[in-house]
Symmetry: none
Subunit: 232 residues, 2 copies
DNA sequence: CGGATATCTTACAATTCCCTTACGCTACTT
DNA sequence: AAGTAGCGTAAGGGAATTGTAAGATATCCG
């Protein structure tokens, strides 16, 4: 909900890759796009995305090989893309351990919803569709991500969506310093086209609501020349 | 743990049956696969598997019939497979006593995780899968999932199927915030091809029926920028 | 102390999101 | 076969939120 899942897209056709990236980013995910299988393997050796969208037909190392490689060392969910609509492929894909299967040409909207579905299945606990997240409690501050409610000294305060996400991110990493660009990336899900000073304003509004004395913050502290951190 | 749970798979399509067997075995279960309903009934007459994975569309004896037969004499959990995502099937299936429901085409990994979930639920407590569900009571609101009736301050109100499902889901998780996509998934059972704003309209209709003042909701609250939650 | 840089604060405009209503479409009823 | 209830889509209006701009204030460093 706050730290965006990272999705690796392995697709050699530039136009499809671009559209896919666009839609996934718009849906709030972090996206890495790679054009060939060798690069994908290299990437996977050092990073662990939350999900892989994989074209079966690739130059060089082929999709099934990547699937085998991945399955051999992790549970990372895989959604396969393919131009062929033969049942044999589908079965083969599933058999190799794909979590879902999309046939080209596909609508980017559909892909996004499948990504969501697979992530929901794999991220949460399999049995209950509603996963409970941990409630954070500090000195006089309670943050409940399930209900998105915040209490300051027994008192409910109403935060907007952005304010809550911002506070929740900071509070989950006490004393960790984030600069404005990182916050834009992690809370807003973007790192371009938005003025970093926006973060400043949101911090201000947040302080107004949760700090006993907004001019002398107790929870959200300014780290001069760098950014902000949460003090528990 | 003494012996591995035994799972009966009733599925007439050979490729699907094979993949399913493969995955379940790899997950550590004993598996019996049968291709038609008559054979399944015969098998069930002399064996008692721990769980049955059942295709609804079968040649000969049909899936619902097997369900009825099973429910009449045991508590064996059932996971249904179906090619259709029709509302009637879904409702009928659950009504007959299925424990879970998987829509084809499905990923075998997903099926395995659902099998695990159902077994965890049923083996742990030995509770009956078709037992009466709990009636929910709030301030002036009574929700009876068994009769699917709802009362607002002693007064019966007639809800449509969707409205009831929506209300019941929200009310079972008080204060938990759901976004529109989650609701589509959990209430509609679909996560693609349906406009999320549909949820908005249904919430509106629901409020019209159960809220004293629909413009100032008391039970179903909007969480701006996120979704909705139930306030008990 | 004083300039430079970074942050704070406020007000305003743009945007996003939600509410509401109306309209076909489908499935079921009579 | 016509009528009806339920459902999903579309569109306009309005409200809450959010990003931006701009002046004020604080901090750093020479």
């Amino acid at each position: 909900m706050t730290t965006q899942p990272l999705i690796l897209v392995v697709e050699d056709e530039p136009s499809i890759a671009e559209v896919t990236r666009l839609y996934l980013q718009r849906a709030g995910y972090r996206v890495e796009v790679l054009g060939d299988g060798a690069a994908a393997l290299e990437y996977l050796a050092r990073e662990s995305p939350d999900l892989v969208v994989l074209d079966l037909m690739l130059p060089g190392v082929d999709g099934l090989e990547i699937t085998r490689w991945l399955r051999a060392r992790s549970e990372t969910p895989i959604i396969m893309l393919t131009a062929r609509r033969e049942e044999t492929d589908r079965v083969l894909g599933f058999e190799m351990g794909a979590d879902d299967y999309v046939v080209k040409p596909f609508s980017p909207r559909e892909l996004v919803s499948r990504v969501r579905a697979v992530l929901r299945r794999t991220q949460g606990t399999g049995s209950s569709p509603v996963q409970a997240q941990r409630v954070l409690e500090f000195d006089g501050l309670v943050i409940d991500p399930n209900t998105r409610q915040v209490q300051v000294r027994e008192e409910d305060v109403a935060l907007t969506a952005r304010e809550f996400d911002l506070l929740y991110l900071l509070a989950r990493h006490p004393r960790q310093v984030f600069n404005r660009d990182q916050l834009l990336d992690l809370v807003w899900g973007v790192n371009e086209f938005i003025d970093p000073s926006t973060v400043t304003v949101h911090v201000r509004r947040l302080r107004e609501k949760i700090e006993p004395d907004p001019s002398k913050p107790r929870y959200i502290l300014t780290v001069w020349g760098v950014g902000y951190k949460f003090e528990p």
